[in-house]
Structures are given as C-alpha cells and as structure tokens.
C-alpha cells in the first residue's frame, strides 16, 4: 500500500496576538508547528501501514524551512518526505495549492491519501477535497474511525452534524481526518536518529508538469483584499464596586432587557 500524508507547517495560532496599534499579527516568538489535525493524518497513515504493509510518504508545500515538519513526521515513523518549494508556488490560494499538490501526488501513485480536516491558520478545509477532484479520485471528509481497510477498499465513519455515516470507498481515495480518529504517537529515539539522516526530496516547478498560469498567485482565483482586527464589542459596560454592588448592577441590566 502506497500511503501519502499531506501536512502543513503553521504558526501556532494559540500563541498569535494582535498588535493593538497597527492591527497586525505579532509573529515574533510564535512557534511553527505541524498543523495539529495533520498529526492525526500522519498517525492514520502509520496505522494503515502497520495493518497492510507498504510505505508512508509525507508531503508538504511551503518554504525551505518546512523541511523540519517533514523530519518530525519521519521521526514518528514515516518513510519518506517530499518538500514542494519554489518561488513559482508563492501566493497560492486553495485552488492553486490543491492543483500543485495533486501534480506531485500523481507522481507518487498513492493508494490512500490522508490530510488533516483543515489547517489552523487558514481554517478552510478545502485543500483535501480540491486535491481529490484534481486527481479524479473520490474523497471522504471528517473521518473519525477506520473500520476496515484492504488492498481493494476502505470502510470508515464520517462525522456529520447529527451523528455519523458509515461509508465505503474504492481505492485510491483521499481522506481528511478529525482529532477523534486517533492519538498521534510520539517520536521514538530511533525515529529521531532516522529523521536526522533522512534525505528529503525537494521538488519545484520543473519536477511537476504544470502550466505556470495554474501556479502560485497567477493560478489563484481568490485574492485577499485586506485584513483587519475583529472589532471589540461596542457598548461594553464594566460593572464596578463591591461584589454586592456588581451583582446588583448586573441584575439591573438583565432586568432592563427582560432576561430574568
């Protein structure tokens, strides 16, 4: 079984703060991590490999420093890492990212492809399904359990609003995973040694067959017009005084709006 796991290196959004004066993100000191959902995708890939045999390749698109994310995945047990990095890929939105990824994955001839359900920086959840469309293979989103897997197909549980669906698919298939699926393993000491020495494949535009009009900014239909800080709630009231006075003031306010 040829298993490919797509991962993304992201800033840890729990650590991101806004500079109130400029309205920009304070990026200093914010660590880069593997997107948390992708950790579960890596674990899912390793799980399938243990069940059916085969190879796990992790792939990421990003700047040269994203290589550390690939090495971390290898330390958990992945066999190979591919870094898609090229100035031609800069400014990719989800369309161009998925298109580029699909070209690279096509070269890897995957049977099963795992992605995290979404990345915590963009939160779009679009790259998985779009990649499947470009590869012309089926996909199943939000899988929370793998019930059965064989060389011919896979049966999983897909999380829905009011419960879950049991759903099966032929291979190849792309699956996006939620956190309930598994508990990502920690790297072993041996894994860390392997990761240190691993040779990461580096692919650029020349390594995939793609028209430059479909890549990077040129290939991206969407554009960011501007970004801004979420507004603080207008009309906030801080209730001052002793606890007694504070509670009285709150009761007053709530009664005024007929809440109690």
């Amino acid at each position: 079984m040829n298993i490919v796991v797509c991962i993304k290196q992201v800033p840890d959004t729990a650590e991101v703060r806004i500079n109130p004066e400029t309205g920009t993100l304070i990026r200093e000191g914010v660590p880069s991590i593997i997107n948390p959902f992708d950790m579960h995708a890596i674990e899912a890939g390793l799980y399938i490999k243990e069940k059916t045999g085969g190879k796990v390749t992790v792939i990421t698109m990003g700047p040269p420093q994203a290589e550390t994310a690939l090495r971390e995945a290898i330390s958990m047990g992945a066999d190979e890492g591919v870094l898609l990095s090229d100035r031609a890929f800069a400014g990719s939105d989800t369309w161009a990212t998925s298109f580029t990824l699909s070209k690279a994955i096509a070269k890897l001839q995957a049977d099963v492809i795992f992605c995290g359900k979404q990345a915590i920086d963009g939160d779009t959840a679009q790259v998985g399904p779009e990649t499947a469309e470009f590869l012309n293979i089926p996909h199943i989103s939000y899988i929370r359990k793998i019930e059965e897997v064989s060389q011919s197909g896979i049966r999983v549980q897909r999380l829905m609003d009011e419960g879950y669906d049991v759903i099966e698919s032929a291979l190849p298939v792309l699956l996006t995973v939620v956190k309930e699926l598994n508990e990502p393993r920690l790297p072993s000491l041996k894994g860390k040694m392997t990761a240190k020495k691993a040779v990461i494949k580096k692919w650029g535009q020349a390594d995939i067959t793609a028209d430059e009009n479909d890549l990077g900014l040129k290939g991206s239909p969407t554009q960011v017009k501007n970004i801004f800080s979420p507004e603080a709630r207008p009309g906030r009231k801080m209730l001052e005084g002793t606890p007694e006075e504070q509670v009285d003031a709150l009761m007053q306010e709530l009664r005024g709006i007929k809440c109690l």
Binding site: P11, L25, H139, G163, P221
Partner: protein, 396 residues
C-alpha cells in the same frame, strides 16, 4: 493584488519581518524580499517606514467573460429529505445580495420532494433547480459535485453560496476545483463592492485572530461557504410564487457508498447549541468542584453548562461541554463566561452570543474585550451572590 518590494527604496531596516504572519519576508543582500511562503495577506503593506512594500495588480486571465454570469444561487442541503436550517439562512443573505445586484435568486436542491422545494420559494427563492435522482438519497461527494458543477456551467450564476457544514465544506471545494474558480470558506459576512460589483467575502482567519476580506475578481462564479447560525433568515411569504425546474444529467457516478447513517447526538450537544442561556466555566474555577456552582446557576436559569478547553484538558468536565474552535460553536441569548480568560480558540466559538457576561479576576483578560458586561472579581463570591439575588427576585 500580490505584494512586492521596491528594492531601491528598501533600506534593510527589517521592520517588516515580524509583521508577516507566515514568515514570508526574508533578508537577502541587505534588502527584504518576499519568499514563496507569501499568502498575499497584505499585512506588511503599511509596516514599511519607507513605503517600499507595494501591491501590484494581477492581470485577469484571458477568456473569462465575467459579464455573462448573472444571478445569485444558494445550495439548499437536506438530510433525510428534509431541508436543513442553513438553507433558509442562505436564502436570507442571498435575497439581499440578489436585490442589491438587481438579479434573481435561485436555490439548488438535490434529493428532496417538490413540497420541500416550494418551501424554498416561500422563503425567498425565485427559482429552484430540483433533482430527485435516487443517487442523492445519501450524501456522496462525487454526484453532488458533478451535478452542481454541470448546472453552474449551463446557467452561469454570478455568485454561489453554500453552508459551511460537513456537507457544504466537503463537496463544494470539488465544484470550485472543477470550475476553476475561487472559493472562500466559512464566511461570516458578505457584502457587495459598490464600485466593482464584486462580492466581498469576510471571514475569520488565524483562529479568529484576524478578519480577512476575500475577493474573486477575475473568475466566475464567486463561491463561498457561509457559517451556520450567522445570517438571518429572510421573510417567509406563504403566497410567494416561483418556478421549480427539474434538473438532472446522465451518468452521475459515485465511487463512495453510504452503508449506514447513525444518529448520535448527546443531549448535552443539543442543549448547548439550542440553549438560550449558557453558563461556562474555565481554568479560573481552580477545581473540578467549581462546576457544581456553574451547574447550579445554569439550572436556576434553565440554561446549559459549557466549558473552555482548559477545563476539559484539565479533566474537570467532559469534552462534549467544550465551547470553541475545537468544540461547539454556540450563540445563545446570554453567555456567562466564568473564570475563562478568553483564548482566541474559545472566543471564536461564542462571540456571536447576544449578551456576554464575563466574570474574571484578571482585569486584563481578553474575555473582557468581547463582553457586554464585565465583572472583575472572584467568581466564588459573585456567583453565589447572583444565585441568591435571582432567587429573591423570583420569590418576590
């Protein structure tokens, strides 16, 4: 509108480096340069003291005749043949956008009855494209995306909206990929740019730390998924007339197959998402026993008990109570945040509540930024007092 650096103006002061959320600015030969990590978010534009960071317009791709695309479409999803509430919310915002552009509003409905389709008309649709192909009895991504993409190609709507639900967020990306057009996820606000007529698609990013306005200027349709429970429903009119158009194509195929649909909604999930009042506790409770106080207040008010991630991670309360990015999104009439500091991941799950009451010892806690009423104090003093007063009022 990507950005580039005017190397003549750049003094190499490195001011811009820290402004970039994705580390896309590097120094090279003493000058800043934009690397391949750039997501064109524009954060850096106003940072440069020399004005050396500039945006330049991207040329539109050839061959897209955007003028020929007209009208607003919404995708009306259903489960078990019954239209989901998100569809009515989409009709609300869709009607507004269509009226603003002076065009019509159509809904697309797969796998439901004509009676259901008529509901969409009463809620504001002028036209409903309805397919009753049996393949749509279950949700499978491939046939959904094949037929929707085919209808869009044929009728050329200018804007297509769908719910940011497990269904919409799963199959709509395939449609956008197929149509070679842009898709903006999980929008919380949609407006029309008066100058250009473009759809301004506003959404939170970086875990809700910032808001971004996204455009799709050179491709059509402009596609967006819309967060549930954010848009208001439109006007219901029993007598409203519209047209139901039967839609379908040959050769729909699905390589996935749904074997079973299992309902599994815990009472607490339902309570949380439907409760008018939620009382939530966080790390500031200091102790799992604090939740009995939270519970007492919630019960008194007929509300539900919520929690921050910190309290769940500490093992004080089960995950199903968690409100936030990795828990439930809620929007009750009143939300009590007790001992919750207000990490962004919590705020994105509750900040659209009508009234937020924050009780926290730390006056600097970010929860006070989103609060309607803020009380700086010890929740173990405040809440028992509040319970006492409410009982007094009720008794009187």
């Amino acid at each position: 509108m990507p950005v580039k650096i005017n190397r003549d103006k750049c003094t190499g002061c490195e001011e811009c480096l820290a402004s970039c959320p994705v580390s896309a600015i590097d120094m090279k030969d003493g000058k800043a340069f934009i690397n391949e990590y750039c997501e064109a978010c524009m954060t850096c534009l106003n940072v440069c003291p020399e004005g050396a960071i500039i945006e330049f317009d991207k040329e539109p791709p050839e061959g897209t005749d955007i003028e020929s695309y007209k009208g607003v479409w919404i995708f009306a999803e259903q489960r078990g043949g019954k239209i989901s509430s998100i569809a009515y919310e989409l009709l609300g915002i869709g009607r507004k956008l269509a009226d603003g552009r002076g065009t019509g509003l159509s809904a697309v409905l797969f796998g439901a009855s004509e009676t259901e389709a008529e509901e969409l008309i009463k809620w504001g649709a002028d036209k409903v494209y309805l397919s009753q192909d049996r393949i749509f009895e279950q949700f499978n991504d491939e046939p959904y995306s094949q037929l929707l993409a085919s209808l869009i190609k044929e009728h050329k709507p200018e804007t297509v909206l769908a719910g940011a639900t497990p269904i919409g967020r799963s199959f709509i990306p395939r449609v956008a990929a197929r149509l070679r057009t842009g898709l903006t996820a999980d929008c919380t606000s949609l407006e029309i740019d008066k100058e250009t007529g473009n759809l301004l698609q506003i959404r939170p990013a970086f875990g809700g730390n910032i808001m971004a306005t996204i455009l799709c200027p050179n491709n059509r349709p402009q596609m967006a998924t819309v967060r549930p429970r954010v848009m208001k429903r439109g006007q219901y009119d029993e007598g409203r007339k519209g047209e139901i158009v039967k839609a379908g194509i040959e050769g729909l195929l699905s390589r996935t197959r749904v074997l079973e649909t299992v309902k599994e909604v815990s009472d607490i999930t339902v309570n949380l998402q439907e409760a008018n009042i939620i009382v939530s506790g966080g790390r500031g409770l200091g102790d799992p026993k604090g939740f009995s106080l939270i519970q007492e207040l919630a019960e008194l008010l007929g509300g539900a008990v919520g929690s921050s991630r910190a309290a769940v991670d500490a093992g004080w309360i089960p995950y199903r109570h968690q409100v936030g990015q990795t828990g439930k999104t809620v929007c009750p009439t009143i939300y009590f945040a007790c001992g919750i500091s207000g990490a962004v991941q919590h705020l994105v799950g509750m900040q659209s509540s009508d009234i937020i009451i924050a009780i926290n010892k730390n006056p600097e806690a970010p929860i006070f930024n989103v609060a309607t009423y803020g009380i700086v104090g010890d929740l173990y003093e405040i809440i028992p007092l509040l319970i006492k007063k409410i009982k007094e009022v009720r008794g009187a």
